[in-house]
Structure formats: C-alpha cells, structure tokens
C-alpha cells in the first residue's frame, strides 16, 4: 500500500513538473512578448528591455523556471496585468466561490445519481432501468449553455421565480446559486448514474447475490447489505475523476450567470492575455486534476479488498 502510494505520488510530481515546464515554455520563453503584454502595445523596445532587466528576465531560462516554480509554491504568482494587483489576491476568493459551486453540485449530484443508478441496476431491462437510461441520455445531450438557456427562459423570464444572474453583489444568496447548481446537476448526474447502473447490474448477476437470495434473505437486505457495498466501488472513482471535466461546465455556468468564480477568471485572463493569471489558474486546475487522480487510485485500492490484500 505504501509502495503504491509513493509510486503514485512520484508520478504525480513528475506530471506536475512536466506540465509546469511546458506552461512556462509556452508563455514565457519569448521575453519581449512578455514585456509587451505587461507594458502594453504602445511601449517601445527600450522600455521593454528595461522592464526585462529590472524583473530578472535576463537570467538563463532554466534559472528563471526554477525561480518561477519556487515563487508559485510559496503562493506568489506575480502581478495580474488586467487587475494590476497580485494574482494571489484575486485567485483565492475566486477559487473559494468555485469551491462553493462545485461542493453544492457534488452534494446534490452524488445522492441523486447513486440512487437512480442503483434503482436502475437492481433489475436490468426493467421499466425503471429503461426510464433512468433514457433520462440520463437525454440530460447528458443538452450541454450546460443550452440547458441554462432553457431554464432561465422558463424560471427567470417566464415565471420570474429566480434571478437571471448570480453576481452575488449583495453577499451570498441562495436564490442566485440555485440555477447554476441546478444546471450542473442536470448535465452531470447522467454519467455517474450510468456507471452506477452498470456496476450494480454486474453485481446483481454475481454468485453471492444469488446465494443470498436463495438462502431466503429478504430482498431489501440483499440489496442493502450485500450488493450496495460492492456496487459503489466503481462509481467512487468516477465521481472523483469528474472533477476533471466539471471545470468546463463550471466555466460555462460561471460565464452564463456572471458568477465570480475561478472559471470566469481563467477565461477572462485567456481572452485578455493576462499571462500570469493564466499560468496560475492552469497550474491549480492541473494540480486539482492530478491530485484527484491520486486520491481516486488510493481510494479504489482501500475500498476494494481484492486489490488491498494482494
């Protein structure tokens, strides 16, 4: 177990080094372009060179990379070009807002998709199974920006029940967070539900379930005690790995509802050319993705006795 964990940890560290190096090479190998971005299009070459000199850009490339990584590890990502303030000051509150969004998404998505998946997988081919399968294909076919359009047309403009934007100008507001979370859950639950269904259906055909049923244990207990525990191992990894593509949905939803989160920060930085913000956001996004992969590998091993004891 410890060997596995340390091997996974090493590969995680290696991937982070490669990713950060690639990122640095893409955005900062052309020094004059960096100076041009920071000082604006009307600066002349002498000003740019002076700026490069003052900010230590004339050191060798590798040395700059090491300094940059060191700064990033201590939470110093440089100054934002667009907002004229340290990137860290903008980044952390935004990340917090997105964590609220993602946390609420998980809070609703997990129970809904697990319940539906288990109900569908209990009897393969039954009416409830067909209904859940078709329903999840339907909802995963409507991308977030389309379903957000539909839901805001209904709930905001037609019925007038909810606000159409979620800028949270007057502090945190439950009415404003409802639609973003709802849109994410509607699009996201289908995938996990299908995975749970497949896993549950497989468990239900296994010998130990047949034995339990033949022993005369009540059906309810067979499901709750024997089937669920094994059927929920596979969805666990799926849920954690969802973090990776949840980010696309989060960006779309944050843009649609003008929610001040991490995704909108990254997109705005990309459209503006705010390289230090792009670098910081990308590093954090990749770190979250790689770390969730690590957690899911370790968790899978811990949950699955067949792997744990060999």
């Amino acid at each position: 177990m410890l060997i596995l964990a340390s091997r996974r940890f090493l590969s995680m560290a290696l991937i982070m080094v490669i990713v950060s190096f690639t990122l640095f090479a893409i955005f900062e190998s052309d020094k004059l372009a960096v100076a041009g971005k920071v000082l604006g299009p009307y600066s002349n070459t002498e000003q740019r060179e002076l700026w490069l000199e003052q900010n230590g850009y004339n050191e060798p490339f590798l040395e700059r990379y090491v300094t940059w990584v060191g700064n990033a590890l201590t939470g110093d990502f440089g100054n934002s070009i667009q907002y004229k303030s340290p990137v860290a000051d903008i980044l952390w509150p935004r990340l917090g807002n997105t964590a609220i969004l993602a946390g609420l998404y998980m809070l609703f998505m997990i129970p809904i998709s697990l319940t539906l998946g288990v109900i569908a997988g209990m009897k393969e081919g039954s009416l409830q199974d067909r209904a859940v399968s078709i329903g999840s294909v339907l909802t995963t076919s409507v991308p977030e920006f389309a379903s957000a359009t539909f839901f805001s047309a209904i709930f905001v403009f037609w019925l007038g029940w909810l606000p159409g934007t979620s800028a949270m100008t007057g502090g945190f507001n439950w009415a404003e967070i409802f639609l973003p979370v709802f849109v994410l859950v509607v699009y996201g639950f289908g995938y996990t539900a299908r995975m749970t269904r497949a896993s549950m259906a497989e468990v239900m055909t296994s010998h130990y379930i047949r034995t339990a049923v033949l022993k005369g244990i009540p059906y309810r207990r067979v499901i709750m005690k024997h089937a669920l525990r094994n059927a929920l191992i596979a969805p666990f990894t799926v849920i954690i790995l969802q973090l990776n593509w949840l980010l696309s949905g989060v960006i779309v939803v944050e843009v649609f509802f003008a929610y001040k989160g991490f995704g909108k920060l990254l997109l705005d930085a990309a459209l503006f050319g705010d390289i230090y913000v792009i670098e910081a956001c990308t590093l954090i996004a990749v770190f979250v993705a790689v770390f969730s992969q690590f957690i899911s590998d370790i968790g899978y091993t811990l949950l699955n006795p067949r792997i744990r004891f060999t």
Binding site: F145, V252, V255, A270, L271
Partner: protein, 294 residues
C-alpha cells in the same frame, strides 16, 4: 449446360457488406431515432444553399418574433435576431459549420489516437511506455484548460480547433485502442500474419485495426456528440471560429442578454445543439445495445 459452380459467385463487395451491416440498426428503435435526428441536420446542412432561405448574414428586420411576416411577403419562421438576421437561416447554415468541423476534428483525433494505440499495444516496450506516459500527461489536463491554452496561444481558427480537439481526445482513443489491441494480438490470425512475414505496419493497419472496429464505432458516435458540444461551447465562450458565419454557440452568447423580451433568439440555437447531440448519443446507445445482443 453451363455448370454454375459455387465458387464462381463473387463475394459481396465491401460496400454491399457495409450496407448490410448498416441495416442492423433497424433492430433498435433508439438507434433509428438518433440516426434520423443526425440525418435531418446533415440533409438540411447540405441543402442549405438551395433552400428558400434569407441570407444568414444580411441584416433584415431586427427583433421579429417567430412566424412573423417579412416586409417582402415571406415569413421569418423562427424570427430574427438583434441584428435583423433570419434565425432559421442562421441555424441551418450553422449546422454546416458545426457538422463539418466536428466531423473533421473527431476524424483527425481518431486517426492520431488509433495510430498511437495500435503502436503502443502491438509494438509494446518503449513505444508503449512513451506513448502511455504522454497520454497520461495530456489526460491529466482538464480538457477545457487544454482548449483555452491552445486557442489563446495559437489563435481561434478552424485548424487550431481541430488541433485542440485532437490533443484532448487522442489520448482517450489511444487507451481504448491499446486495450483492444492487447487482446487481439494473441489471436491466431495475427500469428499467421507474423509467420507469413508481414511487416508490423501491415499487421497493425490491415489485421488489427479493422478487427477492433466494433467498440470504436460506438465510441466515435459518442465523441462526435461531445465534439459538437465542444465546438459550440468554444463559440459560446468566445474562443470559436471567427465571425460572421453563424455558429450555434456564438448565437446563444450574443443573444443571451436579450432573454427578458426575446427569448427565442437563444432558445432556438440551444435546441438545435441539443437535438444534434441527442442524435449522436442515442445512435451510440442503440448501437451498443445491438452489439451486446449478439
């Protein structure tokens, strides 16, 4: 009397066999429905230049609601947008854009991913190590970050979108193909080909890939749907193809703020995307069901 020998009958041509296999989708109503949805958009997109439509980029009369009469005696069946462009025409011409680029991008991603997968699976050793590691690094990127970096760094052109989709999808395709090849490479016909002295390239392309096609067809349908979403999403986020040609995602982004009094402008393209993606997903679902049945 001419003797008709069994051997004289030519085997059915490849096209005839493909057509016969294709008719299998009649077994699944879900697949049929999905296929019909896709074909509807394909046919509309092909016929777009000859259909009696207004020009998609010409401003006519702004803020017309669906079914309203036009000044020249025609109708704006789906209304017009804030710049007075006919929405029906923009949605149909937008289908051209999204179908062409989604197919192209998925196709290129498939060629690259299949080649990586078959090399990693069949040649093994260092090839496998290197290709798998590169794929793992790429898969560790959240896809949207990959898109944003490639497109902001290289610019928003059709070619760069194809490139970005390839970077994002090829590693996943590679994993599937590699898994299939690892299973197929122990079959007798592969040993037979090796004994005949066929080159590894021949074995990979002629013996292995065609026999791995089953699961790949289902995956390709799903990926086409997902690439459709991606292209529309990039358009929505302002990272898509350059204007003025209609793009479903951009149509939503442009008209979304007008939702309070002209909701149809954003709802129509949103429905268009959803129906096309639904077509791909239902087709994939139906095909998977058919393949599981045998």
């Amino acid at each position: 009397m001419t003797d008709i020998n069994q051997n004289d009958v030519a085997p059915p041509s490849a096209i005839a066999r493909m057509f016969k296999n294709f008719l299998l989708i009649r077994e699944s109503p879900i697949a049929m429905f999905g296929f019909a949805l896709i074909m509807m958009w394909v046919i509309l997109a092909i016929l777009a230049p000859v259909l009696p439509l207004y020009d998609p980029n010409t401003p006519l009369e702004p803020f017309k609601f669906p079914l309203s009469a036009a000044r020249d005696g025609g109708h704006y069946w789906l209304g017009t947008d804030h710049k007075g462009r006919d929405i029906l025409s923009r949605v149909i011409f937008g289908a051209q854009t999204v179908l062409v680029w989604a197919t192209l991008a998925t196709g290129v991603a498939y060629i690259v991913g299949m080649f990586m997968g078959v090399v990693a699976g069949y040649l093994g050793g260092w090839w496998d190590e290197v290709i798998s590691f590169v794929s793992n690094v790429l898969l560790s990127f959240p896809v949207i970050v990959l898109y944003i970096i490639i497109i902001t760094y290289l610019g928003a052109t059709g070619f760069n979108i194809v490139l970005a989709v390839t970077f994002a999808s090829a590693p996943g395709i590679m994993r599937i193909v590699r898994g299939l090849v690892l299973d197929l490479r122990t079959r007798d016909y592969i040993f037979a080909a090796q004994t005949r002295g066929e080159s590894p390239m021949y074995i990979m392309l002629v013996e292995l890939l065609p026999n791995a096609r089953g699961p790949l067809i289902v995956d390709a349908c799903l990926r086409l749907g997902y690439t459709t979403i991606t292209i529309a999403m990039l358009g929505y986020l302002g990272l898509g193809l350059p204007p003025p040609d209609p793009d479903w995602g951009k149509m939503i982004a442009e008209t979304q703020p007008l939702g309070s009094f002209a909701g149809h402008m954003a709802v129509v393209p949103a429905a268009a995307i959803s129906s096309l993606v639904l077509g791909f997903n239902l087709l994939a679902d139906g095909l998977r069901e058919i393949s599981m049945r045998d």
